[in-house]
Structures are given as structure tokens and as C-alpha cells.
């Protein structure tokens, strides 16, 4: 029963996330569907990031891949180094001028 209720609340919130921008845009004819879609995507991505952070907090066991804690003081020595310029590449991109302004 409790799970069903939580599931229902979840569904309602997701529906709200998708319909709030649409409802808000309803009274403004200038707002296009592209903007509504962007708002919905941004909110879902933000929710995904927050939940990923919360999920990662539950995981604390991982294999070590580095040994930085065991470096001896002054133990890093560079024997040979060079930085050689090889070539240059040039790219040109036409910038759209904003005619609405």
C-alpha cells in the first residue's frame, strides 16, 4: 500500500515536471514547444544528477588504482622532457547575427 502510494506520488511529480512549463507557457503564445522541451530536459537531467550523487553516497567500496599516498617525499624525478611545436590548424566558423535584436 505504502509502495503504491509512493509510486503514485512519483508519477504525479514527473507529470508535474513535464506539465508545469507547458501550463506556464500556455498564456504566452510566443513560447514555442522547443523551449518547453528544453525546460523538461533540463529538469530531468538535474534530477538525474542529484539522484546519481545520492546513489554514489551509498557506495564506499572501490578498488584502488593509484598509489599516491605512498610516494616518497621528493621521489618524483624527471630525467628527460621536451615540448615540440609540430603544426597549426585554423578553423573558421560563421557566427549567426541575432536579427531579432
Amino acid at each position: 500500500m505504502k509502495k503504491k502510494l509512493l509510486f503514485l506520488i512519483t508519477q504525479l511529480c514527473v507529470a508535474a515536471a513535464l506539465t508545469v512549463p507547458a501550463l506556464a507557457a500556455g498564456s504566452y503564445s510566443s513560447v514555442d514547444s522547443e523551449t518547453i522541451a528544453i525546460v523538461a530536459v533540463v529538469s530531468l537531467v538535474a534530477a538525474g544528477i542529484v539522484c546519481l550523487i545520492l546513489w554514489m553516497q551509498m557506495r564506499s567500496v572501490k578498488k584502488a588504482t593509484r598509489a599516491d599516498n605512498y610516494l616518497t617525499p621528493g621521489g618524483v624525478r624527471i630525467h628527460r622532457r621536451y615540448d615540440r611545436f609540430t603544426h597549426t590548424t585554423v578553423t573558421r566558423v560563421r557566427v549567426k547575427s541575432d536579427k531579432r535584436n
Binding site: L6, F7, I9, T10, Q11, C13, V14, A17, V20, P21, A24, A25, S27, Y28, V31, V39, A40, V42, S43, A46, A47, G48, V50, C51, L54, W55, Q57, M58, R59, S60, V61, K63, A64, T65, R66, A67, D68, Y70, L71, G75, V76, R77, I78, H79, R80, R81, Y82, D83, R84, F85, T86, T88, T89, V90, T91, R92, V93, R94, V95, S97
Partner: protein, 359 residues
């Protein structure tokens, strides 16, 4: 098959002594006497040698007693206090008698090649491990309420885990492709000029005591996660630190564990070389070669508290560094909570953006 085992007894009242991490001494719970490790070592040096000889003699003359192939991996010991026969795995070096609770050490398990070079004694007691686990549950928004409320620890044990410590030098040769870019406007065009560089770094990085656990029973990722230990507290090995805790001897050789240490040393060496490549907007590794030279590995026992619990038929293991108190262990996720958070955040963000855009 049974061999003698040793427990350190209080010279005043003959009750068992146990090592206390807090005081750094062996303590008697009954008469409250306490002794330094050196005092106890001196008292027991002769007794241990005699017990070891007896153990070797008995082992040589022992048959498998009907255990068949399993006998190869089992050892039987007699508790010196109550006489009970304890059967445990061949890698167990310190344990406690399940009948009388005496902390006991198996002589012969830490002799010759098997004798550890170092030990880090337990500094934190069982209560600290339980408190750390409770703290681990805090601020975990996706933790199921029933796990937090109805969760009872099934087992808490302090174990000295065998570790190999590797010293060595990692030689790294790394090639990078690096770029620097500048942009400017030319009429309606944005022009980006990118300078490309061939970058090379060759160097060596020295490491000291990279640890790798030498016990097949201990999950490697747990042992990696509770690092680092404070090596300033490494002490020459003595069995006097073991009473009151379990101890294992290694069953994975230094050569077998070396690959793990080499991989870590190599990755860190490459990272050290990469840190010296500065002044570029991008840098990518084109090629690398790493060679790790190792000295002879040292054998050490490290203190670990292992806490296990069961929830909905599944085992959850937590490990705590017995010296620093760092505790790790994966927790279950409540999926209803996960989706509730997802929906709540999505609705909230959508509402806020809509307010700014459309109101």
C-alpha cells in the same frame, strides 16, 4: 593432529591477557594488572619456543584422523585452559576458544618465512567500530528505513589481516599530444588557431610500502578502501599484540600480489608525469611505457574490524581500519525513495525555471 596453542596469562592471577589498543598494553580483566609488550615477550619467550617444538613434533606424527582431503586445509588445536579441541582453517594464527573465550595464539604459524616483519596494533576498540557504523548510516537519504531500524549486527570481529608492503621505483615514459588554441573574430567569422605540440616526459617515481592484502578471504576492494594506514606506528612483529583478536597468515604470496602494487605504482607514475605538462588547453596521452622495479616485499599485519549484518536475506559487510577508524561498506538503496527524489527534484527545477522564463 591437535597441537598446543598459547594464551598469554596474567602472571598475578593466571586469567587471560588481551591487547588493548587504547593503552597499548596487555591487560587483565580480572585483577586489572597491565603489562607492556616487552615485559610479556620476555616472560613468554621460552614458553613459546617449547610450545613450537611440541607443535612441530605432533604435526609430524599426526594422521588426518578421518577428515580426508579436507584435513590438508584444517588444523586442530587444544585450548590450554579448558582442553577443548578447536578446528579451524590452516591460515588462522590467532583466535579465541568458543567454549571458554580465551584469546589464543597458534605457535608455529608465525615462524621462519611466515613471521611478519611488522604489525600495526589495534588502536580502536569494538565500541568505536559500532559507533562508526552508526555514523556511516547517517545522512544517507536513499537508505531504506527498515535497514536502519531493524538492522542488527550479526558479527563483529577484530582481525589482523596479512599485508605485503612493496618498496620500489616506477620508471615512466609518456608521449602526449597537447594543444593551445586562440580565437579572434574576422568579420562574421570566428577564427580559431590551434597550435599542436608533441610533448614527452621521462622520469622515475619512488614508492614506499604500497600495501596489498595477502589473504584470499579478505575482499581486495574493501582492504584498498580502508587505506591508508599511518606507518609511523609500524612496530616490529610480536605475538603479544595478538591476544583478543583474530589473526590470519598470508595465503597469497608476495609474487602473486605484486601485480596489484605494480599497477597502482604505474598509474601514479604516469599521473606524476602528466602533472608536469602545463600551459596547454588539452593534453592526451599518445603512448606510454612503465617499468616497475621492486625491492623485496615486507610482511605486515594490519588491524581491521569486520562487521557483518543481514537484511532481507542478503549479507552486508563493513570493514573499518582498526587504526584510523575509516569505515567502508556498500549500503542498500531504497528504490521508492530514489524515484521520489528524482520526481521531486525534476518537478522543483521545472517549476523554478518556468517561473523565471514565463512569469
Amino acid at each position: 593432529m591437535a597441537v598446543e596453542i598459547t594464551n598469554y596469562k596474567c602472571p598475578c592471577c593466571t586469567a587471560p591477557l588481551h591487547y588493548s589498543g587504547e593503552s597499548g598494553k596487555l591487560e587483565c580483566d580480572y585483577c586489572e594488572s597491565n603489562y607492556t609488550v616487552e615485559e610479556v615477550e620476555k616472560l613468554y619467550a621460552e614458553k613459546e619456543a617449547a610450545a613450537r617444538d611440541a607443535a612441530e613434533k605432533r604435526e609430524k606424527s599426526a594422521d588426518d584422523g578421518g577428515w580426508g582431503a579436507d584435513a590438508e586445509h584444517m588444523r586442530a588445536y587444544s585450548c590450554p585452559d579448558c582442553g577443548a579441541e578447536l578446528i579451524c582453517d590452516e591460515t588462522t594464527a590467532a583466535t579465541s576458544c568458543p567454549y571458554c573465550g580465551n584469546p589464543t595464539i597458534v605457535p608455529g604459524q608465525f615462524t621462519g618465512m611466515l613471521r611478519p616483519d611488522y604489525v600495526i596494533p589495534f588502536r580502536l576498540e569494538k565500541e568505536a567500530a559500532v559507533a562508526a557504523l552508526k555514523a556511516h548510516y547517517k545522512r544517507k537519504l536513499l537508505l531504506p528505513r527498515s535497514f536502519r531500524d531493524s538492522n542488527h549486527l550479526e558479527e563483529i570481529k577484530g582481525v589482523y589481516v596479512p599485508f605485503w608492503l612493496y618498496d620500489g621505483v616506477a620508471d615512466a615514459k609518456v608521449n602526449y599530444h597537447a594543444t593551445r588554441a586562440h580565437s579572434h573574430m574576422e568579420g562574421d567569422y570566428r577564427v580559431t588557431v590551434t597550435e599542436h605540440y608533441d610533448v614527452y616526459r621521462e622520469g622515475s617515481v619512488t614508492f614506499e610500502r604500497i600495501p596489498a592484502d595477502g589473504s584470499s578471504k579478505m575482499p581486495d576492494d574493501y582492504m584498498d578502501s580502508i587505506e591508508p594506514y599511518d606507518y609511523s606506528e609500524l612496530k616490529p612483529f610480536s605475538t603479544a599484540y595478538l591476544p583478543g583478536y583474530l589473526a590470519d597468515k598470508y595465503d597469497v604470496s608476495a609474487e602473486e600480489c605484486a601485480a596489484r602494487a605494480d599497477e597502482r605504482a604505474g598509474n601514479s607514475a604516469v599521473a606524476c608525469m602528466t602533472e608536469t605538462v602545463v600551459g596547454y588547453h588539452t593534453k592526451t596521452i599518445d603512448g606510454q611505457s612503465v617499468f616497475v622495479q621492486r625491492n623485496a616485499a615486507k610482511y605486515a599485519l594490519m588491524p581491521v574490524w569486520l562487521l557483518s549484518t543481514r537484511w532481507k536475506g542478503k549479507n552486508f559487510l563493513f570493514a573499518m581500519n582498526g587504526q584510523t577508524g575509516k569505515l567502508v561498506g556498500d549500503l542498500p538503496v531504497s528504490w521508492p525513495k530514489f524515484f521520489a527524489w528524482f520526481a521531486g527534484v525534476a518537478a522543483g527545477v521545472a517549476a523554478v525555471i518556468s517561473l523565471f522564463l514565463f512569469m
